[in-house]
Structures are given as C-alpha cells and as structure tokens.
C-alpha cells in the first residue's frame, strides 16, 4: 500500500488548543478529523504536511445537531452518519438526507465529518451545494474570535475556502423558514463515486408563489455554483413545470463543466439542467406538503 511521508503528531483536547497549535506550527500543520479527505491524499503523497493536529477529541464538543435561535446548527465534527440519521435534519431539510445517502459509503460516513468535507472543498463535494442551496452560513473561529461567512462565499475555488491560517470551521448554521421544501439529485457512475453532476434545491413558498429559492450545483463548476439567475427566475411565480424548465436551463447555462472520464462537458451540462429540474419538482412537492 502507498503510505504517508513522516510527520509530527499532536492531539488537541480543546478548540483553543487546536488554534494555538495551528498558530504555533504554521502553514505546514493541518487539522485532521475523520481523515478521509486528508489521509488518502497523504498516502499518495499529494499532501505532505509536517504536522498533523488530531481534533477527534473534540468530537463531543463539536459533534451536534440542534435547533437554536431560528437555525439548525451542526457542529463541524459531526460525522456524515449522524447527519444521515438525524430525524431533525430529515424533517427540516430533506435535501440533507437525500445527499447523505449518496455520499461515499457507510464505513467512510462513520468517520468523515461535515467540517472535513466542506474544508476539503472538492468541486464535486455535495454538502457544499446542500448548505449553499439552504442559505447556510459557516462559523469560523480564530485567535480573534468568531466570524460568519455565507456558504457561497465559503468556497473560493477548488480546494480553497475562506478559512484562514490559524482558524478553523466550528459550525454550520442553516436558517429555518416556513413553507420550505428541498431536494438533492445526483448522478454518479457507481456507489461511492464523486458526482458526475448534482443539483441541490430549496424552495420556500408564500401562498402559492415561490418566495425564495436556492439552487446550487456540484461537480459542474470549479467552485460550487449557486445559480442566482435560476433562483430569480422562480421567485414570485407559482412552482410549475414551465418555471422549473426555465430555471433549470439557466442553471445549466451558468455552469462550466469539464469533460473527463465521467463524461463530456455537454453531457454534464445536460445533467445540470435535468437534475435541477428534477430536484425542483421534488422540492416543490415537499414545500406544498409542508
């Protein structure tokens, strides 16, 4: 088996300690939680940090899903499995369970965390699109305190996030709004594969019209795409097949897929439209039922 290059190992038993270690050890230090993004890269020697800071001891402190102050708050060390099994999230935001069922596989979900997934910022990563579509925010803590960043600003490019040196993501907050529905649609070549294309959609109704929409695509753009043009096309009108088609077409126009072994660019662009449309249909059904 391919194995990592040597490194120094430290364990943090508090958030402050983790931040202090990051500050002291500098940019050659990386946090590791579930390890299922970082360790594979280290085994292939695509990443060779000199120091690893194990923050798994923070699993109790940062592993939670709860309603608080009008949001659902998810701690950064919450495991994929906990997110999948959360009835609270399934009830409030069905898009979450839709997506988690299709993320990786069960043993990986037992270890991987939402923080690790979001911070790896792979353009095909699903929870980025999910939280962006839901209008979520990321809570980042550093030496100077906490700051809040909108999810679509959290992702700044492939493998690049708004988390700075000596900072860490501690929480994701998703605002609760009435009369909402959400859904995730994903095409992949096989269980456990990254998405060929995926669409995450959330709709909120005001009477019979769409009051707000979040449409975010995964795997078809260098950074997770929220298509505001598609969202705007839905607002102020009833959810209908015609509206969905229009919005889906705009979302597909707005993405920049790259052809690869999963498929050529035109196929992925087609999927962007198809999956956005299907996700809109399901999100609308759920919103109407709510």
């Amino acid at each position: 088996m391919q194995v990592p290059a040597p490194f120094e190992y430290a364990r943090a038993s508090s958030i402050d300690e983790a931040l202090e270690l990051l500050e002291r050890l500098g940019p050659e230090a990386r946090l590791v939680a579930g390890g299922h993004s970082l360790l594979p890269m280290m085994k292939l020697r695509l990443a060779t940090p000199e120091h690893l800071i194990d923050i798994n001891p923070l699993a109790d402190e940062l592993g939670y899903i709860r309603e608080d102050g009008g949001d659902v708050r998810i701690g950064a060390l919450t495991r994929h499995r906990e997110i999948l099994e959360s009835d609270l999230l399934a009830r409030r935001f069905p898009i979450v369970r839709d997506a988690e069922e299709l993320i990786a596989d069960p043993p990986v979900r037992n270890r991987g965390t939402i923080g690790g997934a979001l911070c790896q910022a792979d353009p095909s990563e699903d929870l980025s699109a999910v939280t962006a579509a839901l209008g979520g925010v990321a809570v980042i803590r550093g030496g100077g305190g906490e700051r809040v960043v909108e999810m679509e600003d959290f992702h700044q490019g492939p493998y690049e996030t708004a988390v700075g040196d000596a900072e860490m993501l501690v929480e994701v907050r998703i605002p609760i709004r009435a009369h909402g529905g959400s859904a995730y649609e994903k095409v992949k070549r096989r269980t456990g594969d990254w998405a060929t294309a995926a669409a995450g959609v959330a709709l909120w109704l005001d009477g019979s019209d769409v009051a707000a929409a979040g449409i975010a695509l995964s795997a078809v753009n260098p950074k997770n795409l929220r298509s505001t043009r598609a969202e705007d096309a839905l607002v102020g009108r009833p959810p209908s097949e015609e509206a969905f088609a229009e919005a889906a077409a705009l979302a597909a126009e707005d993405c920049e897929p790259i052809g690869d072994l999963r498929g050529p660019a035109d196929y992925k662009r087609h999927l962007a439209r198809e999956l956005t449309h299907r996700a809109l249909r399901r999100a609308a059904e759920r919103a109407l039922a709510s």
Partner: protein, 791 residues
C-alpha cells in the same frame, strides 16, 4: 440455499472444508508470511510511457539508514537478469536498462528494513528521462512514422508482433458476395480492462545461502510453471527452488505471469542474505500487471433474408502493450479466439488477428477469458444481435434457428474446434422460461408506448476450456497435462496432492469430493494438498477453467487406479478372483453375495498389513496419474439480461439477470453457482463501468479504484440461475468446467440489453463500457462525435 443437513459422499452441495480457517481470519496469504529478519522491497516506476533513461542516481537512497540494497537495471544486466522471457516467446524487462516503454514500468528496486522506509527511499532515487514520442493508439502503431518501441529486439523495425488467421477466407468471401445475402458490418471493440483481484500480487523470497535453496512464497496460479521458468531463466537448479502459493486472494488470470517484482525480490534476497517481501500496491497492480482484452474487432456477418446465418468474418487489431506477455498455448498467439463462430452452424468463417506493440503495460490474456474466448463470444453475440435488428427477427428466435443441433455433436466448426456435446436449444429455452421471455417482450412494448425504455438482452456462448492435449498445447514448451497423487492411509483416510492452485474456487472441497465420488471415502477424510511445488505433482496451474477438466480428470483417474488396487487386495482378502467382485461406492463385494465384502477403509488397512498379496500386486493403496485430456471441453450457456434506462440521465438499472449454464456434471452445485455469481458480477462491471484508459501521452487514467470501477453490492441484481446438463463424453466424469463461463456470456447480454432498450432511438451499437454518458450520447447522435470518445 443453505446446505446445513447435506453431507454427500461424493458430488453434491457440501459446505467448504476451507471455510473454518478463513472465517476466523486464519487465512495465510503472501502478505501474512513473516520470516525472521525479513526485509521489504518496493519498486520505482517510470512516470513516462516512452523515454530513454539518461541516468539513474541511487546514491541518496543507498544512504538512507534503513535501506539494505538498491537494484537497478544495470545491476541486473551484470547478472544476466535485466530481461526475462515471457510466456509468449518474447522478452520483458525486469528493470529498465535503455528505455522505459510504458508508464509504470519497473526502473529500480529498493530493499529496506520496513515497508514505510522502502517507500520513502523510492523518493530518493533520481532518474533522468529523455521523453520519446508515445504510441498510445494501436491503430497508429503501424504508421510508417511510428516510433519503434522494441528497438531492443534484433530485426524489429516496427511495432508489429504477429499475424494470425483461422478459417477459410475464400469460402467466406464467396458467401459474402452471394447476391441474396444480407451483410451487416460493425466495429466492436473490447476495451482494455483489468482483473483486479482484491489481493494484489506479491512474493516473499528466501534464498538460504547455506543450503542454496530458494523458497518463494508467491501469489501464483501456476507454481510449477513458475519454478521451471525460474530454473531455466536464472540458472538456479530446479530441485533447489520451492514455490509456495499459499492462500490467494483472487486470481482471475492476473496471477499467472511472472512479474518483475518477484524476480527482484529473489535478487534482493540473494544480495542481502535475508528474506525479502515485495507486495505491490493497487496502482502498481492496475498499471503494470497483466491487463485483459484490448481487442479492436470488426465483424461482418452474412445471412439469408429468412434468417439463416451463412458466414462470419472478424478482423482484429490486438493491442499487446510494450511486451508480448500474454499467457496462452504457444501455437495460439491469439489464444482460442477462433471459437468466434460461437454456437452456430455456419457455412463459412474466417478471422485475422494482428498483434501490435504500444506504450502500455503488457498482458492481454486474463480476467476469466478462457484464452480470448470472452472476446470471441462478445463479437459473435453482438453481430447476431445486429443481424436480428437488421432482419427484424427476435434475437432469441434468430439464435434458436441457427444453433448447432444436439444431433450434430460432436461438431467440428469451420475453424477446427470439435465441440464435444451440448443441447443448445434446451439451454436457451430454459433461460427463456425462467426469464418469462414472452411476458418481458409484452412489457417492453407497453413501456415503449409510454416513453419508458426497458431492454432485454440475450446472449448464448460456447466456450472451449480445459487445455489441453499435449500434442496440441504447451505453454513455454511445458505440456498441459496435469498430475495427481493419492495415498490412502492405513486407517482409511487419504491425502490427495494436485497440481492446480485454487484462488477461491474451493478445490480443497471439490477435489475431495471427486475422491469421495470415486472411492466412497468421505470428503472430510480426504486432505487436499496443493500450491507447494515440493509437495505436489507437476502441472500448469489454474486458469482457462482447466482445473476440473484436467486436474479433476487426473484426480478421477488416480482414484480409479486406487480402486483397482483395492479390488486386487479385496480379491486376496476374500479369496475370490478379481473379476468376481463388484463395486458399490465405498466397497468391493462378491457378485451375488453382497454380505461378503470389504469397505475401502478395511482394504486400506489390509493393504498396509500382513495380508499376502498375489504376485504383481503392490502393497499400500497409493497411486499416481498424469492425465492428458483427449480434447478440450465445451461448456455453454444462455443468458438473459433486463435493463431499464433513464432517458434523462442515461443511467442504466440492471433489473434482472438470468443465467442458465451447462457445464456438464457438477461436482458441487453450491460452488458452481458461486463461480457463476462472481463471473456475472465481473462481466456486468466490464460491460457497464470498467476501462483501463490512457491519454495521448500514455498516462494511465485508471490507476486506482477511484477511476477503475468494479461493482459493489449496489450495482448487481439478484442473480437468477438455472442449469442444463450435457456431460462431456470424453471427460472421466463428464464435467466441463465453469470458472470463466459467466464472464464470457455476460458482457454481450448486458450490451445487447442496452442496445435493445435504445432501439426506438435508432441505436445499433454502443461501445463498452456502456456508461450513462455513452448511453446519452447514443440517444443524441447530433452531439456524438463518434469513435472512441472519453467517457
């Protein structure tokens, strides 16, 4: 189906004897071997597909405190070991000397105290390369300006390896030119894939400097063949080489060749005086060990308008990679591809195969192919379906109208195969019955009317397996007869030593069952020994579905010899003439006086005891046999696949898969079914998701399971199996072998199903792997740029 209460003495469903140790985690695989003072090896590999080696600097690696040796091509050159022969009368570099010829080729070998240090040391070796133009496309390999890859071979001035043909070209042309026939032509490539057993390849070499004995634990399906080749190549005395294949975590043909890593581990052990373990990682396995297929085929099929198939011609461009290292009998550079006439009674047939070198890993014969039978079955079954589509005849009916009839056996094909037995119509109808074929077609019509797309794919295959007769077949000059030794102990228990090597096929159970069937000794009383060349008779190993046909034949023969010896002993014990004795399983008794008899256990004791035996009858109940099969065997099968296609995404759902196999007599139906389940999963993976892909610089794009996709539990349907039984008339107990059948028959069934689903869109063919992207492209021809697009 559980087998809780069945304990057959002989053939039947029997739980496996080897399972208790595996379920306790007490398997002994090569990476579990741990010897005192053992060191660890790792190979440095070329990042480039074609390049001259300017320099190799190992000084930094040699200074690593945990490194014990660093070996380069130059070092091996000094030992005469830089090149080794392949199983196809070519040569392959052990460590590159002048050039590297495929990405992933071995360039240097490090031996260190532990595995992690060996990996670290690889990064300390500095190799300077001068890139050369790359031949990545077999179609371009014979262009006049193509770089010559094998400039190491004297007289080699192109990338051409061989030309081969079978059948009658003139006769076939005549049929094609007949004014009344319909001719359908199609390119039908079989993409490069890889067997990817779950355990990678590896070895532990332990050369004892005092005794001069080399023990080599190795993931090999053919331990004796390896031993003999090491003796011939390395000049080591063959009686001083012991190859031990312990438990093997899957082979599927990937573990037949000798790989450079094995040779390097031996050299490492000789140099350091310590045991050296080498286990490749998964990337190395996928990018450097024996791939499978890569046959670029074109077919032409001719038939009368009423559906009588008249002739078939196939032309193949075979991509063999940088070294011709395919493993098949020497007279057959294209393996058994000339069985491409399939299960049909044809008037004429002809094929050509042209082998070429490219800058890719060597291989081609692997992955349960029965020596290219997978390629042959794929093209004939696609061509028959294309013909059915052209003639607007149901594909099952077209096959039934053209099968070789059961009264035509033994049947000699237009390319010289003598099929032993079969009842193709019965096998096909059984599959149609289990599938509910007519009902499926009705459902399909209803769904099409609603804009839903389901497909029903049919395939029928005849394989040729169980190589093979000495007169016709050898690999590297070694004949393909197999031996067996049987000893029955005084207390009636037995030990059977065989020359084949299981990698999961259950030989420890099934071969004991053969002895049980012939002698009546319960399988649990028969110890099966295999895999250790010091302990077992010579044979060419397990691949090509040959274990049951050949080694099983040898086992039956040796058991019958023991039975005959027992008859002599019984005659002496019962004081009758041998001819006055009759056999019922487990016992000789006096004809007409059944109370008067001796069990095999009693006879074992008697044969070891003081009983006076007549002249010419030796004591003990031991025997040796070498079985030279008179012919190959010809299993067949009918497969029906049902798919549902999502037209919006191109995704394919495999709804059902029906497989009716005829492998003659089944030793253990539970084991046979398991083999079929596994082969079906592999074939489905090949059809839908597997490809070893390259870019135009020869970079391998499928070097991990992230991109080389094999099916999980979620991608396979619930397999529905059936059987027919037409025993092989020449095999000692009528068995034909089944290990590869499912991999032969399933890819065409799946592809035929998808093409059938897409018929309303005018789709005639989709190349494998039939990914969702390709399905969607096929449905939208204006967006399809033809040929071999990525994805």
């Amino acid at each position: 189906m559980a087998v809780a209460d069945e304990r057959p003495i002989g053939f039947g469903r029997l739980k496996r004897k080897e399972d208790p140790r595996f379920v306790r985690g007490q398997g002994n695989y090569v990476d579990d071997v741990n010897l005192p003072g053992m060191l660890h090896g790792a190979a440095l590999r070329s990042p480039l597909a074609h390049a001259r080696i300017v320099s190799v600097d190992t000084s930094a690696a040699q200074q690593h405190p945990k490194v014990r040796a660093v070996i380069t091509g130059k070092d091996l050159e000094g030992l005469g070991l830089a090149w080794m022969p392949t199983l196809s009368a070519d040569t392959q570099a052990v460590l590159a000397t002048d050039k590297v010829r495929f990405q992933g080729q071995e360039v240097a070998f490090v031996v260190a105290d532990d595995h992690y240090a060996a990996r670290d040391a690889l990064e300390l070796i500095d190799v300077e390369y001068e890139p050369l133009p790359v031949v990545h496309d077999a179609h371009r390999a014979l262009d006049p300006d193509a770089p010559v890859i094998r400039d190491d071979k004297e007289g080699q001035d192109s990338n051409h390896i061989f030309d081969w043909e079978a059948g009658d070209e003139g006769e076939t042309d005549r049929v094609f030119e007949d004014a009344d026939v319909v001719v359908v032509t199609q390119d039908v490539p079989f993409q490069r894939v890889h067997p990817a057993p779950l355990e990678t390849c590896g070895s532990v070499a332990d050369m004892n400097p005092v005794t001069g004995k080399l023990r080599l634990w190795c993931t090999t399906q053919a331990p004796h063949a390896h031993r003999t080749l090491y003796a011939l190549v390395a000049g080591l005395p063959e009686h001083k080489i012991q190859v031990i294949a312990p438990d093997i975590g899957g082979g599927f043909g990937n573990k037949v060749p000798i790989y450079p890593g094995y040779v390097c581990s031996i050299v490492g052990s000789i140099l350091t005086g310590k045991p050296v373990k080498w286990m490749e990682d998964r990337t190395e396995n996928l990018t450097s060990t024996g791939f499978a297929r890569d046959y670029l085929m074109s077919g032409r099929i001719a038939a009368d308008r009423d559906g009588r198939i008249r002739a078939l011609r196939v032309d193949v461009l075979a991509d063999h990679g940088a070294f011709n290292a395919t493993a098949q009998p020497t007279k057959y550079p294209a393996g058994f591809f000339h069985i491409f006439t399939g299960s049909y009674d044809l008037e004429a047939a002809y094929c050509t195969v042209k082998g070429v070198y490219t800058n890719k890993a060597p291989g081609g014969v692997a992955y349960r192919c029965s020596f290219r039978v997978t390629e042959a079955a794929y093209i004939v079954e696609r061509m028959v379906d294309l013909l059915a589509d052209e003639l607007e005849i149901d594909p099952a009916e077209l096959r039934l109208a053209n099968f070789i009839r059961s009264d035509q056996f033994p049947y000699t094909t237009k390319t010289g195969w003598e099929y032993d037995s079969g009842d193709y119509h019965a096998t096909m109808r059984e599959a149609m019955r289990i599938a509910g074929y007519d009902e499926l077609r009705r459902e399909q019509a209803e769904k099409r009317a609603r804009g839903e797309y389901m497909g029903i794919g049919v395939s029928f295959f005849t394989e040729t397996v169980g190589a093979g007769p000495r007169a016709k077949m050898d690999i590297a000059g070694l004949g393909m007869a197999d031996g067996a030794e049987l000893r029955v102990h005084p207390t009636g228990k037995a030990v059977l030593r065989i020359s084949v090597k299981t990698q999961g096929q259950g030989h420890e159970t099934t071969f004991a069952q053969i002895v049980a069937e012939e002698l009546g000794i319960p399988p649990e009383d028969v110890e099966v020994v295999h895999g250790d060349t010091d302990q077992t008779p010579f044979g060419l190993g397990t691949y090509g579905s040959r274990s049951t046909p050949v080694s099983g034949g040898a086992t039956a023969m040796v058991a019958r010899k023991v039975r005959e010896r027992a008859r002599q002993v019984a005659a002496a014990a019962l004081e009758v003439a041998p001819d006055d004795l009759e056999w019922e399983k487990g016992r000789w008794f006096v004809k007409g006086d059944p109370e008067k008899g001796q069990t095999i256990q009693e006879l074992a004791l008697a044969s070891h005891g003081a009983l006076e035996l007549p002249e010419g009858v030796e004591g003990h109940l031991d025997a040796v046999a070498v079985y030279d099969p008179p012919n190959l065997t010809y299993p067949c099968g009918a497969y029906i696949c049902v798919v549902d296609v999502d037209p919006g995404t191109g995704e394919i759902k495999l709804r059902r898969f029906v497989a009716v196999d005829d492998c003659g007599v089944r030793i253990n139906p539970m084991v046979v079914e398991g083999q079929i389940h596994g082969g079906l999963a592999e074939g489905v993976g090949i059809a839908l998701m597997q490809q070893i892909a390259f870019d135009d610089q020869g970079n391998c794009l499928s070097g991990s399971f992230m991109d080389y996709l094999v099916p999980s539990s979620m991608e396979v349907p619930d397999w529905e199996l059936g059987e027919t039984v037409t025993p092989s008339p020449h095999h000692p107990f009528g068995a034909k072998g089944v290990g590869e059948s499912a991999n032969v028959g399933s890819p065409p069934a799946v592809v035929n199903a998808v093409v059938d689903a897409l018929e309303p869109f005018g789709v005639r063919h989709v190349d494998m792997p039939v990914t969702p992207a390709r399905v969607w492209q096929a449905m939208h021809p204006t967006d399809f740029v033809g040929g071999h697009r990525q994805g």
